[in-house]
Assembly symmetry: C2
Homo-oligomer: 433 residues x 2
């Protein structure tokens, strides 16, 4: 089978107008071949988009997918206590098998809610890479490298293995997996490690992804130690290249926003996590206005607690207005843009739009729903009213990952069962410690 026709629906075009059209996909190249009037194109296989809206696959540009195993394990605590008392002790017990089944659980959840690409930072990343391969999705993957709290030897080993993963897995899964070097954050990785390993990452040609300016408590020590704002420090240690991207950027000032715009470095906005951990409100409309490349992410399921980008789009629109003290900020079209084209650009994939030549990464949203009636404005509906459960089909790289709400790439109930068991065992091990 080589050509897939997504037919009978409406299509969201790159300018956010909506038209009745069919979409033809070449499965070999994984690209969209044509978008044309209904009934004018033919394919070998057909995906029925009647009563549906064809949209670009959503891009989850910052997550820790295997943390689905910790969904609901510890809530309602500030970032530091939550990490130190709950998350890190359990993560210390994680096995490669746990990371694999957690990834399968999270990727299944993403496919069901119309997400086709992710950036993921965690441990045992070869397991995540294999799960992404099985899932048929696109991933920009990297191992989170930390030096704080480790002796020198362990820390070096961590950074070296992070680089080795980036080198080994770049281009894996027929090119659907790309990699990045991922020092965890500006405060959890020491300057000497940046000085040593950033040049190696440049040599390897992989981008760098890191957490930055997430909480106020993270900004102050950097200002004290280095006498400059965190992103000025990041610039000094070579982290702000155009292919690089950071997660959060909640507490950034105007100088830092300008610096990001100038350098072309991407920012992944994580509104749900920023609210749930009371981290603060990112000035996301100000970043968009300054020309910063902004993408959207769910962060891990433990601080969200789902991986549904429809929820996240709603959160981005809502929180963006509060942050700007302006109800016209982060309008629906802007939010949809960061969740699609913005994410694809930040991650370096040629997707995020329905048009000939783009990656055939798309989702079909069922519009025939009470909570999506009436149809005054479908862009508004995608951001404010639609849910992940409205997604009917998901396609990535030309392959059908979900058809009529049936996930094709994993046995969903088996994934759930294995994840439930792994999660219980994991917590039991951690609580025995």
């Amino acid at each position: 089978m080589s050509e897939l026709l997504v037919s009978g629906g409406q299509v969201l075009l790159p300018d956010h107008t909506v038209t009745e059209a069919d979409v033809l996909v070449d499965q070999e190249s994984g690209n969209i071949v044509a978008v044309d009037d209904p009934g004018t194109l033919d394919g070998d296989d057909e995906l029925d988009a009647a009563d549906g809206l064809v949209i670009p696959g959503l891009v989850n540009a910052h997550t820790h997918v295997s943390m689905t195993l910790l969904r609901g394990y510890a809530d309602d605590k500030p970032l530091d206590a939550w990490l130190q008392e709950d998350i890190w002790p359990v993560e210390g017990e994680l096995t490669a098998e746990d990371v694999r089944v957690g990834a399968e659980l999270g990727l299944t959840e993403m496919i069901k809610s119309g997400t086709t690409a992710l950036a993921d930072m965690y441990f045992f990343m070869e397991q995540v890479a294999e799960a992404v391969d099985d899932a048929g999705m696109r991933g920009l993957l990297g191992q989170g490298c930390i030096s704080v709290g480790k002796d020198e030897e362990d820390a070096h080993e961590d950074f070296q293995s992070g680089l080795a993963f980036a080198n080994e897995y770049d281009g894996y899964a027929d090119g659907r997996v790309r990699t990045a070097f991922m020092p965890h954050s500006l405060t959890t990785a020491g300057e000497e490690y940046y000085r040593e390993y950033v040049p190696e990452a440049r040599e390897a040609g992989v981008p760098i992804h890191f957490h930055a300016n997430e909480t106020e408590g993270e900004v102050d020590p950097i200002v004290e130690e280095h006498g400059e704002r965190p992103l000025e420090y990041a610039d000094d240690i070579g982290l702000l290249e155009p292919e690089d991207f950071l997660a959060h950027g909640v507490h950034v000032d105007e100088t830092e926003i300008d610096l990001l715009a100038e350098r072309g470095t991407g920012v992944v906005h994580n509104p749900a996590s920023n609210m749930k951990l009371a981290s603060g409100m990112a000035p996301v409309q100000a970043m968009v206005d300054a020309g910063v490349s902004v993408a959207l992410g769910t962060d891990g399921a433990a601080s969200n607690n789902d991986l549904d980008l429809f929820d996240e789009m709603r959160d981005a629109a809502m929180l963006g207005k509060l942050a700007a003290d302006d109800a016209s900020a982060m309008a629906a079209g802007t939010v949809l843009e960061i969740a699609t084209r913005g994410g694809a650009e930040v991650l370096g994939f040629d997707g995020g739009r329905i048009g000939a030549g783009a990656n055939a990464d798309l989702a079909v949203v069922d519009l025939d729903a009470t909570h999506l009636t009436p149809h005054h404005d479908l862009v508004s509906h995608l951001v404010y009213a639609a849910k992940g459960s409205d997604v009917r089909h998901t396609v990535c790289d030309g392959e059908v990952l979900m058809r009529d709400r049936e996930v094709q790439v994993f046995d969903e109930s088996s994934v759930r069962e294995r994840a439930e068991t792994a999660a219980r065992d994991l917590v039991a091990r951690a609580e025995r410690e």
Copy 2:
């Protein structure tokens, strides 16, 4: 058929523990008769709750249900411009038939997402009352009365018809409909109207519901004119009785919070609307801590844009943390409480809990879902991870309103079709003006 058994599932008890149990409902009285070990109870009809969690029906304590017709019609604008440029011109064209089909659309949406009771303020309220009767839900209904921008005669007619509705429909639909007198807000209804009609409402024995302290722009003129905070003014004009409740309460200071706690007046928190209109962050945890009766509402679909209380619970938890600058604020249990027992108390219904003697208003949430795996903490899942679409059955007053995701009380596709047509015609009329 007189006894309904909700069997095979887990049950959320009033103390938020979860246990495997069956729930027996007497359909004649509309009450829960017993909650007991699986297999120990018998009913004439059965509702299969296997792999599900039985929870109290959610209470939407402030909405304008017929505004579903305007879902997505105008977004991303500040409250004043949004009302004056978009919402009021269209509302000026609303017919009784529009309000009826909008209500049917919104009630269907609520039933599908596990809501069994609502407080509604709008026009043509006899249409809403009849729709609530047909829906089998509970409603506390009232006509929004406004004097600002009207000549004296029209204004008096509005308040008189508001009172007449409250008198006529209290106890309607076998007691499932109660009424309230609903002057629109402290700024859109003049003091002389409060002075004249509040005593009449007291005589009629109906509570009073009004908007208050929603935006900063609404607080300042009251402080200027009356030399006191809005809720002190509300107290002066007789609005803070224990049966009364106000919507929003975003910009309330400590004095006002104490006053609310002292008077026993309820506050309906509307986090999504407050974010979408950039109104601000209500100090909701502070209100809960002070002993204020707090409930949860979606507001109208035009400022949300859905009527799904699962979304709203998530928003309440998230925004409550930001407002308090404390990730432990508005913990999942607190949020679930305001969405169930809190709402029932504020509206004066004997529901919001699964226990013998309570109203048989409940929903069954399907737990067998990827985005709800693993099951570390089901209360957390209800607030942070579940969606309205996870609701499998909805029961109100002992009657099954939705069974296996099939709405029993309305023909859902007919409602959608009629609403779509009415919404298009309505907007066309408004845009011709």
